[in-house]
Symmetry: C2
Subunit: 184 residues, 2 copies
């Protein structure tokens, strides 16, 4: 539990202190700078770690894994919904689903009522693969956050959800924010 933080100096990385020193004169929001940079660095570090330790052995990219996982959790999805859920552009999704389809991990079905649409679903093999890979993935996730205790992990998630919701706002990001707890 955080009681006093005094993050004025104490817990700063050397690199962060250097940044502060270099930008001393300017009227900047250092805390925001550090927060954003730390979010990005953490994401990159996690992704690299997962790809190296878990995904590469299964021949899966981060994106491919995400698609499989989403389909596993949500069941069959139309392309636009799948793209949205995976945080990918539609065009990107088409290509990656193509790759997965080529490997026999997912299947595409044109809808009968509306032949513009396509429903994507796991194949049996895809289901086996994600069911096999995900527990290992999750165990690596667990290790990655093992430096935090349970409260801290939950708190981290909460703060990040807030940031994501704000960044996802379609507006120019100036208005005062509405209800904040469950943006999805």
């Amino acid at each position: 539990m955080p009681t006093q933080l005094n993050n004025d100096d104490g817990a700063l990385l050397q690199a962060e202190a250097d940044i502060r020193a270099r930008l001393e004169g300017l009227d900047l929001d250092f805390a925001a700078l550090l927060a954003v940079s730390n979010v990005y660095r953490a994401a990159t570090a996690i992704r690299n770690r997962m790809e190296r330790d878990v995904l590469s052995a299964a021949g899966l990219s981060w994106g491919g894994f995400t698609i499989l996982f989403v389909l596993w959790i949500w069941g069959p999805l139309e392309a636009h919904a799948l793209a949205e859920e995976c945080g990918l552009a539609k065009g990107t999704l088409t290509g990656m689903v193509g790759t997965l389809e080529g490997r026999g991990l997912v299947e595409r079905v044109r809808l009968v009522g509306d032949r513009r649409r396509v429903r994507v679903d796991l194949s049996e093999e895809g289901r086996r693969l994600i069911a096999d890979v995900f527990p290992r993935f999750n165990s690596a996730e667990s290790k990655v956050v093992a430096g935090l205790d349970g409260d801290e992990i939950g708190y981290l998630s909460r703060l990040l959800r807030l940031v994501t919701a704000t960044a996802d706002e379609t507006t120019e990001l100036v208005r005062p924010r509405g209800p904040v707890d469950a943006g999805g």
Copy 2:
């Protein structure tokens, strides 16, 4: 400041509840799952926001901006150090520095003492550009974390630094962790 969190249910997104429900039987670390996924989602949301609102107008990609910023803060750097600092593979850096050099934003100089090495530095135009763009970038960063108060922002950074340090460990991620506050 977090006092009670009870993130058992209360603050969960619908999607997160769905995941929990779908994976009910399995022996998984849900908190870690959510934390990792929230880190990644936040990073993506922030990056997209920045590219759209700030960087695209300057004709800069996230990676290009990062390179310029790092050189701005640290001064001239050799390629390997620059890659390391930007979190990019050496090969990636070569290409991106090439792009920036083509636009006249950075310069490459082979070292006199050791002709294998190359020092990269901002050009005058590059310096002008980053000095112009960064304040706007920072102001967008500020807005992105505006949903959090000062303590929360600092705390978020601290937690993320911990996660990054763990994920960056070169080991297989099993040993007990050494000193934890400033992984630098």
